[in-house]
Protein backbone atom coordinates (compact mmCIF):
# COMPACT_ATOMS: atom_id res chain seq x y z
CA UNK A 1 0.00 0.00 0.00
CA UNK A 2 1.28 3.43 -0.89
CA UNK A 3 1.80 5.75 2.05
CA UNK A 4 -0.61 8.65 2.39
CA UNK A 5 2.22 11.09 2.12
CA UNK A 6 3.14 9.76 -1.31
CA UNK A 7 -0.20 10.51 -2.90
CA UNK A 8 -0.07 12.58 -6.03
CA UNK A 9 -1.17 16.09 -5.22
CA UNK A 10 -4.18 16.93 -7.30
CA UNK A 11 -5.49 19.69 -5.11
CA UNK A 12 -7.55 22.35 -6.81
CA UNK A 13 -7.62 25.92 -5.57
CA UNK A 14 -10.57 28.09 -6.55
CA UNK A 15 -9.57 31.23 -8.42
CA UNK A 16 -12.30 33.66 -7.36
CA UNK A 17 -15.46 34.24 -5.29
CA UNK A 18 -14.37 33.21 -1.82
CA UNK A 19 -16.10 33.14 1.54
CA UNK A 20 -13.53 34.12 4.15
CA UNK A 21 -13.41 32.14 7.38
CA UNK A 22 -11.32 33.90 10.00
CA UNK A 23 -9.05 32.35 12.61
CA UNK A 24 -9.50 32.97 16.36
CA UNK A 25 -5.75 33.00 16.93
CA UNK A 26 -4.78 35.02 13.85
CA UNK A 27 -7.37 37.70 14.62
CA UNK A 28 -6.15 37.82 18.18
CA UNK A 29 -2.41 38.00 17.64
CA UNK A 30 -1.94 39.09 14.01
CA UNK A 31 -5.12 40.86 12.93
CA UNK A 32 -3.18 42.87 10.36
CA UNK A 33 -2.33 39.63 8.51
CA UNK A 34 -6.00 38.93 7.84
CA UNK A 35 -6.55 42.55 6.84
CA UNK A 36 -3.71 42.56 4.32
CA UNK A 37 -4.81 39.19 2.90
CA UNK A 38 -8.26 40.61 2.15
CA UNK A 39 -6.76 43.80 0.77
CA UNK A 40 -4.38 41.94 -1.55
CA UNK A 41 -7.18 39.75 -2.89
CA UNK A 42 -9.62 42.59 -3.42
CA UNK A 43 -7.41 45.46 -4.42
CA UNK A 44 -4.29 43.93 -5.93
CA UNK A 45 -5.67 40.77 -7.52
CA UNK A 46 -9.23 41.99 -8.20
CA UNK A 47 -10.93 39.01 -6.53
CA UNK A 48 -14.30 38.78 -4.84
CA UNK A 49 -13.97 37.70 -1.21
CA UNK A 50 -16.70 38.14 1.38
CA UNK A 51 -15.98 38.86 5.05
CA UNK A 52 -19.26 37.95 6.74
CA UNK A 53 -19.80 39.33 10.27
CA UNK A 54 -22.13 36.44 11.22
CA UNK A 55 -19.51 33.72 11.12
CA UNK A 56 -18.11 32.66 14.44
CA UNK A 57 -15.42 30.33 15.72
CA UNK A 58 -15.60 26.80 14.35
CA UNK A 59 -14.68 25.81 17.96
CA UNK A 60 -11.76 23.74 16.65
CA UNK A 61 -9.52 24.49 19.64
CA UNK A 62 -12.32 23.21 21.89
CA UNK A 63 -12.70 20.16 19.68
CA UNK A 64 -9.01 19.24 19.78
CA UNK A 65 -8.81 19.92 23.51
CA UNK A 66 -11.70 17.46 23.78
CA UNK A 67 -14.38 19.58 25.43
CA UNK A 68 -16.44 20.01 22.22
CA UNK A 69 -17.88 16.69 21.00
CA UNK A 70 -17.60 15.77 17.33
CA UNK A 71 -21.37 16.08 16.70
CA UNK A 72 -21.25 19.67 17.94
CA UNK A 73 -18.16 20.42 15.90
CA UNK A 74 -19.85 19.05 12.77
CA UNK A 75 -22.90 21.23 13.38
CA UNK A 76 -20.68 24.30 13.85
CA UNK A 77 -18.91 23.55 10.57
CA UNK A 78 -22.32 23.06 8.95
CA UNK A 79 -23.28 26.55 10.08
CA UNK A 80 -20.23 28.07 8.36
CA UNK A 81 -21.25 26.23 5.18
CA UNK A 82 -24.83 27.51 5.58
CA UNK A 83 -23.61 31.12 5.72
CA UNK A 84 -21.66 30.48 2.51
CA UNK A 85 -24.69 28.96 0.86
CA UNK A 86 -26.88 31.90 1.85
CA UNK A 87 -24.33 34.22 0.29
CA UNK A 88 -24.32 32.19 -2.94
CA UNK A 89 -20.66 31.25 -2.53
CA UNK A 90 -19.10 27.82 -2.97
CA UNK A 91 -15.43 28.45 -2.26
CA UNK A 92 -14.15 28.64 1.31
CA UNK A 93 -10.95 30.57 2.05
CA UNK A 94 -9.84 29.45 5.49
CA UNK A 95 -7.41 31.49 7.61
CA UNK A 96 -6.88 28.92 10.37
CA UNK A 97 -5.01 25.64 9.99
CA UNK A 98 -6.96 23.93 12.79
CA UNK A 99 -10.20 24.91 11.04
CA UNK A 100 -8.81 23.84 7.69
CA UNK A 101 -8.00 20.36 9.02
CA UNK A 102 -11.35 20.30 10.79
CA UNK A 103 -13.42 21.19 7.72
CA UNK A 104 -11.62 18.51 5.73
CA UNK A 105 -12.14 15.99 8.54
CA UNK A 106 -15.87 16.69 8.63
CA UNK A 107 -16.15 16.49 4.84
CA UNK A 108 -14.35 13.13 4.87
CA UNK A 109 -16.63 11.80 7.61
CA UNK A 110 -19.73 12.90 5.71
CA UNK A 111 -18.51 11.16 2.59
CA UNK A 112 -17.88 7.87 4.40
CA UNK A 113 -20.78 8.09 6.84
CA UNK A 114 -23.76 9.88 5.25
CA UNK A 115 -25.73 9.39 8.45
CA UNK A 116 -23.33 11.80 10.18
CA UNK A 117 -24.06 14.45 7.56
CA UNK A 118 -27.78 13.86 8.00
CA UNK A 119 -27.39 14.29 11.76
CA UNK A 120 -25.41 17.53 11.30
CA UNK A 121 -28.08 18.85 8.92
CA UNK A 122 -30.81 18.00 11.42
CA UNK A 123 -28.94 19.56 14.35
CA UNK A 124 -28.29 22.74 12.37
CA UNK A 125 -31.85 23.01 11.12
CA UNK A 126 -33.39 22.41 14.53
CA UNK A 127 -31.05 24.89 16.18
CA UNK A 128 -31.01 27.66 13.57
CA UNK A 129 -33.39 26.85 10.71
CA UNK A 130 -30.42 27.01 8.35
CA UNK A 131 -29.58 24.66 5.49
CA UNK A 132 -26.36 24.28 3.56
CA UNK A 133 -24.77 22.99 0.41
CA UNK A 134 -21.42 21.22 0.50
CA UNK A 135 -18.72 23.69 -0.64
CA UNK A 136 -17.17 23.01 -4.02
CA UNK A 137 -13.74 24.08 -2.88
CA UNK A 138 -12.07 24.48 0.50
CA UNK A 139 -8.69 26.18 0.32
CA UNK A 140 -6.48 27.49 3.03
CA UNK A 141 -5.62 31.14 2.48
CA UNK A 142 -1.96 30.12 1.98
CA UNK A 143 -3.14 28.01 -0.98
CA UNK A 144 -4.65 31.13 -2.51
CA UNK A 145 -1.45 33.15 -2.06
CA UNK A 146 0.42 30.15 -3.53
CA UNK A 147 -1.92 30.10 -6.53
CA UNK A 148 -1.33 33.79 -7.21
CA UNK A 149 2.33 33.89 -6.18
CA UNK A 150 3.53 34.77 -9.67
CA UNK A 151 0.89 37.52 -10.03
CA UNK A 152 2.10 38.93 -6.72
CA UNK A 153 5.71 38.69 -7.97
CA UNK A 154 4.74 40.77 -10.99
CA UNK A 155 3.23 43.46 -8.75
CA UNK A 156 6.09 43.31 -6.25
CA UNK A 157 7.95 46.38 -5.10
CA UNK A 158 10.51 44.33 -3.20
CA UNK A 159 12.20 41.01 -3.76
CA UNK A 160 13.25 38.72 -0.95
CA UNK A 161 16.85 39.78 -1.38
CA UNK A 162 19.34 40.76 1.28
CA UNK A 163 20.43 44.03 -0.29
CA UNK A 164 23.35 44.23 2.12
CA UNK A 165 24.89 41.12 0.52
CA UNK A 166 23.02 40.95 -2.80
CA UNK A 167 22.02 37.37 -2.02
CA UNK A 168 18.53 35.90 -1.62
CA UNK A 169 17.14 35.98 1.92
CA UNK A 170 17.55 32.60 3.59
CA UNK A 171 14.07 31.51 4.68
CA UNK A 172 13.02 28.42 6.62
CA UNK A 173 9.39 27.37 6.63
CA UNK A 174 7.14 25.77 9.19
CA UNK A 175 3.97 24.12 7.97
CA UNK A 176 1.15 23.82 10.52
CA UNK A 177 0.54 20.12 11.23
CA UNK A 178 -3.17 20.11 10.36
CA UNK A 179 -2.52 21.62 6.91
CA UNK A 180 -1.32 18.36 5.35
CA UNK A 181 -0.64 15.69 7.98
CA UNK A 182 -4.27 14.62 8.43
CA UNK A 183 -5.05 14.68 4.71
CA UNK A 184 -1.79 14.92 2.73
CA UNK A 185 -3.70 15.23 -0.54
CA UNK A 186 -5.19 18.50 0.75
CA UNK A 187 -1.81 20.21 1.04
CA UNK A 188 0.47 21.34 -1.78
CA UNK A 189 3.18 18.69 -1.90
CA UNK A 190 1.63 16.48 0.78
CA UNK A 191 2.93 15.94 4.29
CA UNK A 192 6.52 15.00 3.56
CA UNK A 193 7.48 17.27 0.66
CA UNK A 194 5.25 20.21 1.36
CA UNK A 195 6.02 23.07 -0.98
CA UNK A 196 3.24 25.58 -0.38
CA UNK A 197 5.50 28.06 1.42
CA UNK A 198 8.81 27.26 -0.23
CA UNK A 199 7.26 27.88 -3.66
CA UNK A 200 6.00 31.25 -2.45
CA UNK A 201 9.43 32.16 -1.09
CA UNK A 202 11.18 31.20 -4.31
CA UNK A 203 8.65 33.01 -6.53
CA UNK A 204 9.45 36.21 -4.67
CA UNK A 205 13.23 35.87 -4.96
CA UNK A 206 14.11 34.25 -1.63
CA UNK A 207 16.01 31.05 -0.92
CA UNK A 208 13.99 28.30 0.72
CA UNK A 209 16.30 26.56 3.20
CA UNK A 210 15.66 23.00 4.32
CA UNK A 211 16.44 21.86 7.89
CA UNK A 212 16.14 18.48 9.59
CA UNK A 213 13.16 19.16 11.86
CA UNK A 214 11.18 21.05 9.24
CA UNK A 215 8.20 18.72 9.70
CA UNK A 216 8.24 18.67 13.51
CA UNK A 217 5.25 20.16 15.33
CA UNK A 218 5.63 23.66 16.83
CA UNK A 219 4.37 22.14 20.07
CA UNK A 220 0.98 23.81 20.51
CA UNK A 221 -0.48 20.48 21.59
CA UNK A 222 -3.83 22.17 22.38
CA UNK A 223 -4.24 21.11 26.07
CA UNK A 224 -0.46 21.31 26.46
CA UNK A 225 -0.48 25.05 25.90
CA UNK A 226 -3.96 25.83 27.22
CA UNK A 227 -3.11 24.52 30.70
CA UNK A 228 -0.29 26.60 32.13
CA UNK A 229 1.33 23.67 33.98
CA UNK A 230 1.66 21.77 30.71
CA UNK A 231 3.42 24.44 28.66
CA UNK A 232 6.87 22.88 28.93
CA UNK A 233 5.69 20.41 26.26
CA UNK A 234 4.98 23.27 23.94
CA UNK A 235 8.23 25.17 24.44
CA UNK A 236 10.30 21.95 24.24
CA UNK A 237 8.98 21.22 20.77
CA UNK A 238 9.66 24.74 19.53
CA UNK A 239 13.17 24.54 21.02
CA UNK A 240 13.81 21.40 19.02
CA UNK A 241 12.89 23.29 15.87
CA UNK A 242 15.05 26.32 16.67
CA UNK A 243 18.05 24.09 17.42
CA UNK A 244 17.51 22.41 14.07
CA UNK A 245 17.28 25.73 12.20
CA UNK A 246 20.19 27.45 13.93
CA UNK A 247 23.09 26.01 11.85
CA UNK A 248 21.36 27.17 8.65
CA UNK A 249 21.41 30.85 9.74
CA UNK A 250 17.94 31.79 8.50
CA UNK A 251 17.00 35.43 7.97
CA UNK A 252 13.40 34.63 8.83
CA UNK A 253 10.81 31.90 9.42
CA UNK A 254 7.66 31.77 7.28
CA UNK A 255 4.56 29.98 8.61
CA UNK A 256 1.08 29.17 7.36
CA UNK A 257 -0.57 28.48 10.72
CA UNK A 258 -1.65 31.32 13.03
CA UNK A 259 -0.82 29.36 16.17
CA UNK A 260 2.60 28.28 14.93
CA UNK A 261 3.35 31.86 13.92
CA UNK A 262 2.57 33.01 17.45
CA UNK A 263 4.45 30.19 19.20
CA UNK A 264 7.60 30.45 17.09
CA UNK A 265 7.63 34.19 17.79
CA UNK A 266 6.90 34.03 21.53
CA UNK A 267 8.82 30.91 22.47
CA UNK A 268 12.06 32.45 21.15
CA UNK A 269 11.52 35.20 23.72
CA UNK A 270 10.68 32.73 26.50
CA UNK A 271 13.67 30.52 25.66
CA UNK A 272 15.95 33.55 25.74
CA UNK A 273 14.64 34.33 29.24
CA UNK A 274 15.29 30.75 30.32
CA UNK A 275 18.56 30.04 28.53
CA UNK A 276 20.01 33.51 28.02
CA UNK A 277 20.53 32.77 24.34
CA UNK A 278 18.88 33.14 20.97
CA UNK A 279 19.06 30.96 17.87
CA UNK A 280 19.76 33.83 15.50
CA UNK A 281 23.27 34.94 16.34
CA UNK A 282 21.98 38.29 17.59
CA UNK A 283 19.85 39.51 20.49
CA UNK A 284 16.73 39.93 18.44
CA UNK A 285 15.88 36.37 17.41
CA UNK A 286 14.66 35.08 14.04
CA UNK A 287 11.73 37.14 12.71
CA UNK A 288 8.60 35.05 12.13
CA UNK A 289 6.16 36.14 9.43
CA UNK A 290 3.10 34.56 7.91
CA UNK A 291 2.66 34.28 4.14
CA UNK A 292 0.14 37.16 4.16
CA UNK A 293 2.52 39.42 6.04
CA UNK A 294 5.37 38.52 3.71
CA UNK A 295 3.14 39.13 0.68
CA UNK A 296 2.31 42.51 2.19
CA UNK A 297 5.99 43.41 2.48
CA UNK A 298 6.78 42.24 -1.06
CA UNK A 299 3.93 44.41 -2.31
CA UNK A 300 5.25 47.40 -0.37
CA UNK A 301 2.58 47.80 2.33
CA UNK A 302 3.52 49.94 5.32
CA UNK A 303 4.68 47.35 7.91
CA UNK A 304 2.85 49.20 10.70
CA UNK A 305 -0.44 49.15 8.72
CA UNK A 306 -0.26 45.36 8.53
CA UNK A 307 0.57 44.85 12.20
CA UNK A 308 4.22 43.88 12.18
CA UNK A 309 4.76 45.93 15.36
CA UNK A 310 2.72 43.21 17.13
CA UNK A 311 5.54 40.66 16.84
CA UNK A 312 7.84 40.07 19.82
CA UNK A 313 10.84 39.33 17.58
CA UNK A 314 11.46 42.67 15.91
CA UNK A 315 10.96 42.73 12.14
CA UNK A 316 13.12 45.84 11.66
CA UNK A 317 16.39 43.93 11.10
CA UNK A 318 14.65 42.07 8.26
CA UNK A 319 13.28 45.34 6.82
CA UNK A 320 16.80 46.76 6.90
CA UNK A 321 18.20 43.75 5.07
CA UNK A 322 15.57 44.29 2.37
CA UNK A 323 16.31 48.07 2.38
CA UNK A 324 12.59 48.47 2.85
CA UNK A 325 11.41 52.09 2.77
CA UNK A 326 9.65 52.50 6.13
CA UNK A 327 9.47 54.97 8.98
CA UNK A 328 10.57 53.56 12.35
CA UNK A 329 9.16 56.62 14.09
CA UNK A 330 5.62 55.60 13.09
CA UNK A 331 5.86 52.16 14.68
CA UNK A 332 3.96 53.02 17.83
CA UNK A 333 1.63 55.73 16.55
CA UNK A 334 -2.11 55.15 16.75
CA UNK A 335 -4.57 55.60 13.89
CA UNK A 336 -4.65 59.34 14.56
CA UNK A 337 -0.85 59.67 14.65
CA UNK A 338 -0.62 59.90 18.46
CA UNK A 339 2.08 57.98 20.35
CA UNK A 340 0.58 54.86 21.99
CA UNK A 341 3.50 54.14 24.30
CA UNK A 342 5.74 51.25 23.42
CA UNK A 343 6.76 47.82 24.67
CA UNK A 344 9.42 47.72 27.35
CA UNK A 345 11.57 45.96 24.80
CA UNK A 346 11.26 43.99 21.59
CA UNK A 347 13.29 41.01 20.50
CA UNK A 348 14.57 38.31 22.83
CA UNK A 349 17.52 39.59 24.82
CA UNK A 350 17.99 43.14 26.17
Amino acid sequence: MMKNSQVTVTKEIADDNYFYLRSCIRQNFFPGAEKVFLDILKNKLGKNIIDNANHISCTGIGYHSDIVPYETYQAMVARQFALMTEQGLKNAAVSCITSYGGYNEVMKTWKEFPEEEAKARKNLKNATGRRFEIPENISHSCDIIYKFRHDIAELAQYKLINKQTGKPLRIVDHIGCHYAKIFPEKGIGGAEQNTVLSAIVEAWGGQSVDYPERRHCCGFGFRHYLVKNNRSYSISNSKKKFESMEPYCPDMIITNCPGCNMFLDKWQYALAKIEGKTYSGDKNGIPVLSYEELAGLVLGYNPWDIGLQMHQVDVEPLLKKMRFDYNPDEKYLDAGGKFMGQPEFTGCLP
Binding site: S5, R26, D51, A75, C177, C217, F220, G221, H224
Partner: protein, 235 residues
Protein backbone atom coordinates in the same frame (compact mmCIF):
# COMPACT_ATOMS: atom_id res chain seq x y z
CA UNK B 1 -25.06 -1.54 30.09
CA UNK B 2 -22.76 -0.86 27.17
CA UNK B 3 -19.21 -2.10 27.35
CA UNK B 4 -16.39 0.38 26.90
CA UNK B 5 -15.58 -1.21 23.56
CA UNK B 6 -19.18 -0.68 22.46
CA UNK B 7 -18.98 2.96 23.50
CA UNK B 8 -15.73 3.42 21.59
CA UNK B 9 -17.20 1.69 18.54
CA UNK B 10 -20.21 4.01 18.45
CA UNK B 11 -17.93 6.88 17.49
CA UNK B 12 -17.33 6.91 13.71
CA UNK B 13 -13.84 8.23 14.32
CA UNK B 14 -12.79 4.82 15.63
CA UNK B 15 -13.72 3.32 12.27
CA UNK B 16 -11.85 6.12 10.52
CA UNK B 17 -8.77 5.87 12.73
CA UNK B 18 -8.33 2.14 13.32
CA UNK B 19 -8.12 -0.45 10.58
CA UNK B 20 -5.64 -3.21 11.35
CA UNK B 21 -2.59 -2.11 13.29
CA UNK B 22 0.46 -4.32 12.72
CA UNK B 23 2.27 -2.71 15.62
CA UNK B 24 5.22 -1.43 13.58
CA UNK B 25 5.67 1.53 15.94
CA UNK B 26 6.28 4.25 13.37
CA UNK B 27 3.61 6.35 15.11
CA UNK B 28 5.67 6.25 18.29
CA UNK B 29 8.87 6.98 16.37
CA UNK B 30 7.46 10.20 14.90
CA UNK B 31 5.33 11.29 17.89
CA UNK B 32 6.40 14.53 19.63
CA UNK B 33 4.58 13.41 22.78
CA UNK B 34 6.51 10.13 22.84
CA UNK B 35 9.70 12.16 22.80
CA UNK B 36 8.54 14.29 25.70
CA UNK B 37 6.58 11.88 27.93
CA UNK B 38 6.74 8.19 28.79
CA UNK B 39 4.22 7.67 26.05
CA UNK B 40 3.67 5.10 23.33
CA UNK B 41 0.79 5.53 20.88
CA UNK B 42 1.56 2.12 19.38
CA UNK B 43 0.64 0.34 22.60
CA UNK B 44 -2.55 2.41 22.94
CA UNK B 45 -3.67 1.27 19.51
CA UNK B 46 -2.80 -2.34 20.38
CA UNK B 47 -4.87 -2.10 23.58
CA UNK B 48 -7.90 -0.71 21.78
CA UNK B 49 -7.53 -3.25 19.01
CA UNK B 50 -7.47 -6.06 21.61
CA UNK B 51 -10.91 -5.07 22.89
CA UNK B 52 -9.82 -6.04 26.41
CA UNK B 53 -12.26 -4.22 28.72
CA UNK B 54 -10.01 -4.22 31.77
CA UNK B 55 -7.08 -2.81 29.84
CA UNK B 56 -9.25 -0.18 28.17
CA UNK B 57 -10.69 0.79 31.56
CA UNK B 58 -7.17 1.22 32.93
CA UNK B 59 -6.21 3.27 29.88
CA UNK B 60 -9.08 5.77 30.11
CA UNK B 61 -8.44 6.23 33.83
CA UNK B 62 -4.76 7.01 33.23
CA UNK B 63 -2.72 10.10 32.36
CA UNK B 64 -1.57 8.31 29.20
CA UNK B 65 -4.43 9.26 26.89
CA UNK B 66 -4.03 12.95 27.78
CA UNK B 67 -0.40 13.12 26.63
CA UNK B 68 -1.13 13.25 22.89
CA UNK B 69 -0.74 16.76 21.47
CA UNK B 70 -3.20 16.13 18.61
CA UNK B 71 -0.65 17.16 15.98
CA UNK B 72 -1.57 14.05 13.95
CA UNK B 73 2.04 13.50 12.86
CA UNK B 74 1.21 9.78 13.23
CA UNK B 75 -1.40 9.87 10.47
CA UNK B 76 0.66 10.30 7.28
CA UNK B 77 3.42 7.92 8.40
CA UNK B 78 1.21 4.90 9.19
CA UNK B 79 1.54 2.31 6.41
CA UNK B 80 -1.96 1.02 7.25
CA UNK B 81 -3.62 4.45 7.24
CA UNK B 82 -4.44 4.34 10.94
CA UNK B 83 -4.61 7.51 12.98
CA UNK B 84 -3.65 6.97 16.62
CA UNK B 85 -4.39 10.66 17.32
CA UNK B 86 -7.99 10.13 16.27
CA UNK B 87 -8.29 6.97 18.39
CA UNK B 88 -7.05 9.09 21.31
CA UNK B 89 -9.88 11.58 20.66
CA UNK B 90 -12.40 8.73 20.99
CA UNK B 91 -10.77 7.41 24.18
CA UNK B 92 -10.84 10.90 25.68
CA UNK B 93 -14.51 11.25 24.84
CA UNK B 94 -15.42 7.99 26.53
CA UNK B 95 -13.17 8.84 29.49
CA UNK B 96 -15.18 12.02 30.01
CA UNK B 97 -18.59 10.45 29.37
CA UNK B 98 -17.94 7.73 31.95
CA UNK B 99 -16.20 9.95 34.52
CA UNK B 100 -12.92 8.03 34.22
CA UNK B 101 -11.05 11.27 33.48
CA UNK B 102 -11.11 12.47 37.09
CA UNK B 103 -8.94 9.51 38.10
CA UNK B 104 -5.85 10.99 36.47
CA UNK B 105 -4.06 14.30 37.01
CA UNK B 106 -3.96 15.20 33.32
CA UNK B 107 -7.57 14.05 32.85
CA UNK B 108 -8.80 16.29 35.66
CA UNK B 109 -7.43 19.28 33.73
CA UNK B 110 -10.44 19.03 31.41
CA UNK B 111 -12.31 21.07 33.99
CA UNK B 112 -9.75 23.88 33.58
CA UNK B 113 -10.07 23.79 29.79
CA UNK B 114 -13.85 23.85 30.07
CA UNK B 115 -13.65 26.90 32.32
CA UNK B 116 -11.40 28.81 29.93
CA UNK B 117 -11.96 27.73 26.31
CA UNK B 118 -15.53 26.49 26.91
CA UNK B 119 -16.52 29.74 28.55
CA UNK B 120 -14.78 31.79 25.85
CA UNK B 121 -16.69 29.97 23.11
CA UNK B 122 -20.14 30.30 24.66
CA UNK B 123 -19.74 33.86 25.92
CA UNK B 124 -17.84 35.47 23.04
CA UNK B 125 -18.03 33.20 19.98
CA UNK B 126 -14.21 32.92 19.96
CA UNK B 127 -11.90 30.25 21.38
CA UNK B 128 -9.43 33.01 22.25
CA UNK B 129 -9.86 36.78 22.46
CA UNK B 130 -7.45 39.53 23.55
CA UNK B 131 -8.84 40.12 27.05
CA UNK B 132 -8.49 36.37 27.77
CA UNK B 133 -4.73 36.35 27.24
CA UNK B 134 -3.83 38.00 30.54
CA UNK B 135 -0.09 38.81 30.71
CA UNK B 136 0.20 37.63 34.34
CA UNK B 137 -0.92 34.11 33.39
CA UNK B 138 0.86 34.26 30.03
CA UNK B 139 4.36 35.55 30.84
CA UNK B 140 5.66 33.73 27.74
CA UNK B 141 3.76 36.19 25.58
CA UNK B 142 6.41 38.79 26.29
CA UNK B 143 6.64 42.55 26.49
CA UNK B 144 5.10 43.28 23.12
CA UNK B 145 1.94 41.38 24.05
CA UNK B 146 1.84 43.19 27.42
CA UNK B 147 1.95 46.51 25.52
CA UNK B 148 -0.78 45.33 23.13
CA UNK B 149 -2.92 44.11 26.03
CA UNK B 150 -2.57 47.42 27.86
CA UNK B 151 -3.37 49.45 24.72
CA UNK B 152 -5.84 47.10 23.08
CA UNK B 153 -8.25 49.60 21.59
CA UNK B 154 -5.59 51.79 19.99
CA UNK B 155 -3.38 48.95 18.73
CA UNK B 156 -6.18 46.92 17.15
CA UNK B 157 -7.63 50.05 15.56
CA UNK B 158 -4.20 50.98 14.19
CA UNK B 159 -3.86 47.67 12.34
CA UNK B 160 -7.37 47.78 10.91
CA UNK B 161 -9.09 45.36 13.31
CA UNK B 162 -12.58 45.94 14.65
CA UNK B 163 -12.10 44.96 18.30
CA UNK B 164 -15.38 44.56 20.22
CA UNK B 165 -17.31 46.62 17.68
CA UNK B 166 -20.30 45.85 15.44
CA UNK B 167 -19.85 44.76 11.81
CA UNK B 168 -17.23 42.59 10.11
CA UNK B 169 -13.50 42.56 10.76
CA UNK B 170 -10.95 40.97 13.06
CA UNK B 171 -12.04 40.48 16.69
CA UNK B 172 -15.42 42.09 16.01
CA UNK B 173 -18.10 41.70 18.67
CA UNK B 174 -20.18 38.62 17.94
CA UNK B 175 -23.76 39.83 18.36
CA UNK B 176 -26.41 38.27 20.59
CA UNK B 177 -28.31 36.71 17.73
CA UNK B 178 -25.25 34.78 16.54
CA UNK B 179 -24.34 33.75 20.10
CA UNK B 180 -27.92 32.49 20.55
CA UNK B 181 -27.48 30.30 17.47
CA UNK B 182 -24.21 28.99 18.88
CA UNK B 183 -25.92 28.14 22.19
CA UNK B 184 -28.78 26.38 20.41
CA UNK B 185 -26.33 24.33 18.33
CA UNK B 186 -24.55 23.25 21.52
CA UNK B 187 -27.90 22.34 23.10
CA UNK B 188 -29.16 20.44 20.05
CA UNK B 189 -25.97 18.53 19.23
CA UNK B 190 -24.94 17.38 22.71
CA UNK B 191 -22.31 20.04 23.40
CA UNK B 192 -24.11 21.38 26.45
CA UNK B 193 -24.74 17.99 27.97
CA UNK B 194 -21.07 17.09 27.39
CA UNK B 195 -20.05 20.26 29.27
CA UNK B 196 -22.48 19.31 32.07
CA UNK B 197 -21.00 15.82 32.27
CA UNK B 198 -17.48 17.21 32.75
CA UNK B 199 -18.79 19.53 35.48
CA UNK B 200 -20.81 16.75 37.19
CA UNK B 201 -17.87 14.37 37.51
CA UNK B 202 -15.50 17.19 38.48
CA UNK B 203 -17.86 18.32 41.25
CA UNK B 204 -18.20 14.78 42.54
CA UNK B 205 -14.43 14.35 42.58
CA UNK B 206 -13.97 17.74 44.29
CA UNK B 207 -16.39 16.71 47.03
CA UNK B 208 -14.87 13.29 47.44
CA UNK B 209 -11.43 14.91 47.72
CA UNK B 210 -12.53 17.33 50.42
CA UNK B 211 -12.78 20.54 48.39
CA UNK B 212 -16.05 21.59 50.01
CA UNK B 213 -17.69 24.68 51.45
CA UNK B 214 -19.23 25.12 54.89
CA UNK B 215 -22.35 23.22 53.76
CA UNK B 216 -20.33 20.27 52.54
CA UNK B 217 -20.99 21.12 48.88
CA UNK B 218 -18.18 21.09 46.29
CA UNK B 219 -16.17 24.31 46.37
CA UNK B 220 -15.11 24.62 42.74
CA UNK B 221 -12.90 27.66 43.34
CA UNK B 222 -10.81 25.65 45.79
CA UNK B 223 -10.83 22.73 43.36
CA UNK B 224 -9.66 25.00 40.52
CA UNK B 225 -6.79 26.26 42.66
CA UNK B 226 -5.90 22.65 43.39
CA UNK B 227 -5.90 21.76 39.69
CA UNK B 228 -3.80 24.78 38.78
CA UNK B 229 -1.17 23.74 41.27
CA UNK B 230 -1.43 19.98 41.08
CA UNK B 231 1.95 18.50 40.28
CA UNK B 232 3.04 15.09 39.11
CA UNK B 233 3.47 13.55 42.54
CA UNK B 234 0.28 14.52 44.32
CA UNK B 235 -2.07 11.78 43.14
Amino acid sequence: MRTLMQRLGEDVRLKEGLHACMSCGICTAVCPAAEYFEYDPRSIVVTVQSGNEAKIRKLIESDTIWMCGQCMSCKPRCPRNNCPGLIISVLRRVSQETGAFVKSRLGRQQYLILKTIGTNILETGYCVFPASVVPETHPEQGDVWRWIYQNKEAVYERVGANLDKEGPGAMRKIDRENLNELERIFAESGGNSFFSTIVKFSRAYAKESGFTDADGEPDMEKYTDFLLNEDNDEK
